[in-house]
Amino acid sequence: MDRQIIISIGREYGSGGHEIARRLSQKLGMPLLDSTLFQAAAADSPELKKYDEKVKNVWFSRSVSGYSNSIEENIAQKEFDFIQEKAAAGESFVVVGRCSDFILRDNPNLVSCFITSETAAKLERIETYYGVEKGKAEAAMHRKDKARAEYHDQHCKTSWGKARSYDLTIDSSRFGIDGTVELIFSAIAFAK
């Protein structure tokens, strides 16, 4: 496609959102902006892996005139700047999470998606793909989703996972991973 396309994928843990983003990037021949890329971009900063997409602790953080001591916040801001710079440069890409649905909301070429799924399907995926023990998968899912929601809502004026915050909200257990990829791919052509 000639015009710039940015696809933002928000996702519940175990919904296959990352896999959908990866397949979309391959299908469209666009780079995938995910934790691997951000960590590679900051190879000399081991902190990035530790604090990537993490919520700041309000009791141990303080902001003064736009400056914050919170490592989580500084890393988030760096990633936001990185994403915004790429968007401003006219690049097309698929980005996973990192509040991209909100920080790029003014870009007319953005298609923001949120991937949800039935709990049973998510638990199966968490156990199969992430190797989490059967009894611990549900707790891990709740913990991860809570952290993602807090991270998103700490930086955005929209709510994580709420349909109004995105262009598309898709249940991947209903359409499957491939079906969801096709749905988003088809939707791009109609995006105004």
């Binding site: 309000v58 009791w59 141990f60 953080s61 303080r62 400056y67 490592i71 500084n74």
Partner: protein
């Protein structure tokens, strides 16, 4: 406790929690809290127009002693002198920054020590303390940390040790004078102390602490910095200080204005100029300088540099503290400290300095100082043997030095750690506290012993 007292305390505590949580910008928090104090505490509970007028304290601006001459008594309510002075200094600092003065100074020092890292650590620590005596520590760290990161990139050293030293010394320097740190301005203007009073009391003690601090940081970081210097590329191209100057005329003019304002501050007890008047003079001269020496649009740009949010934060804060004052809550706190110390001045000094230091390490020291000023005033009034000035120096040193203890204790710490993080050098709580917490305990202890030796010996 009366309903007014309970509500005043609840509003105050809620305000503090909201400031710490940082969900809503702090000026909105204090202004809404201040509005609630006026409406509920003074209006509904106390039905007192006098309490409202006392707290708003507008009358004072239209009196001669507010601007010139010897003022008597103590201020209550909104401390307009603090607000006007800080606004004036913000304008002056903006002018100095725009002309490239701070950046030039940092690069000039680096050149003078031939870019050797250990002398640079000592010199940047020293300049940080000296500048913070006259301008706000946020600006000092903003420029120093930025230049440090830039030099670290060129000279291949870890900037974190130097940034930690600069932060610590900025807070230390701020404690030395009346205009160095907002708590000191609040203490000084509320109790009508002069710049020279601070310099000869907290300044002398801060000077002793500074020597301890510099030796401490030298011992902590000398090995690391020397090792990095040995690995430096011999073909390194060093930055030229002259490149920092954006406009030579403005550069010279702003330095003259700065030195003139320093002279006015040092001599304000003799000249009778109040700090509010000095703030207005600083703002006027800076804007005039910009109009004469710089291109069109510079002066409005400088005025826009005023941090209105901080000024509004102060307004709301003073009203909330005024609520505690008018309902006699602060008298009760003073009486409690009085009872705890059993009238023992040594113990009283220890309580004030350590409670202030520990509190300031975790919470904003500005609301803490604003709250404690009436408390120490009441303590001194209740105990004939206790000198108010002694408690003022103790409080100032406690809140200023305690802020060094954690990454969130003072504005300079937040700005310094943030600049480091923005450049890929993440300072965790652990790393910060490993070096700065022991140093904070050390200087607070030294200060307490100095107070004992000088005023109670």
């Amino acid at each position: 406790m009366s309903a007014a007292q309970i509500i005043a305390v609840v509003i105050f505590l809620a305000m503090f929690v909201m400031i710490v949580m940082d969900k809503v910008e702090r000026q909105y928090v204090t202004l809404v809290s201040g509005g609630l104090v006026i409406a509920i505490v003074f209006g509904l509970c106390m039905h007192s127009t006098e309490a409202i007028m006392n707290t708003l304290n507008l009358k004072t601006i239209f009196t001669l002693p507010f601007w010139y001459g010897e003022s008597e008594g103590v201020s209550v309510g909104i401390n307009w002198a603090t607000i006007i002075f800080i606004a004036g200094m913000m304008i002056m600092v903006e002018g100095l920054g725009k002309a490239g003065v701070f950046r030039w100074l940092c690069l000039w020092i680096a050149k003078k020590v031939h870019y050797h890292t250990v002398p640079l650590l000592i010199c940047f620590g020293t300049i940080s303390a000296l500048l913070a005596m006259f301008i706000d520590s946020i600006t000092v760290i903003l420029f120093l940390a930025a230049v440090t990161v830039e030099l670290a990139r060129t000279l291949k050293f870890d900037p974190v040790p130097m940034i930690l030293t600069e932060i610590f010394c900025a807070n230390l320097g701020g404690s030395a004078t009346m205009c160095g740190d907002p708590p000191n301005i609040i203490i000084g203007t509320s109790l009508h102390l002069s710049f020279f009073d601070f310099l000869s009391n907290t300044g002398a003690i801060a000077g002793i602490c500074f020597v301890f601090a510099i030796i401490y940081f030298y011992l902590c970081f000398r090995k690391e910095l020397r090792e990095s210097e040995a690995l430096r590329d011999p073909d390194t191209v060093y930055p030229n200080p002259e490149d920092a100057i954006t406009n030579h005329k403005a550069f010279i003019a702003n330095i003259i204005v700065f030195l003139f304002i320093v002279c006015l501050l040092v001599t304000h007890a003799q000249t009778g100029f109040s700090v509010a008047l000095i703030g207005v003079i600083a703002a006027f001269l800076t804007v005039l300088t910009a109009l004469v020496t710089s291109e069109k649009g510079t002066a409005p740009g400088i005025i826009k540099g005023i941090d209105y949010k901080t000024l509004l934060f102060f307004v709301g804060l003073f009203i909330v503290v005024g609520g505690l004052e008018e309902t006699d809550i602060l008298k009760a706190i003073a009486s409690f400290i009085d009872k705890m110390s059993g009238g023992n001045v040594y113990l009283m000094v220890a309580i004030v300095i350590w409670v202030s230091a520990i509190a300031s390490a975790f919470i904003d020291n500005i609301p803490f100082a604003a709250t404690m000023v009436p408390v120490i005033r009441d303590m001194a009034a209740a105990m004939p043997g206790v000198n108010l000035n002694l408690l003022a120096w103790t409080l100032a040193l406690g809140v200023d030095l305690g802020g060094n203890g954690t990454p969130i204790g003072a504005s300079a710490n937040v700005v310094g750690t943030s600049i480091a993080a923005k450049n890929g050098h993440y300072i965790t709580w652990g790393r910060y506290c490993k070096y700065c917490a022991p140093a904070t305990v050390m200087v607070t202890l030294v200060s307490m012993l100095c107070i004992y030796a000088r005023y109670l010996g």
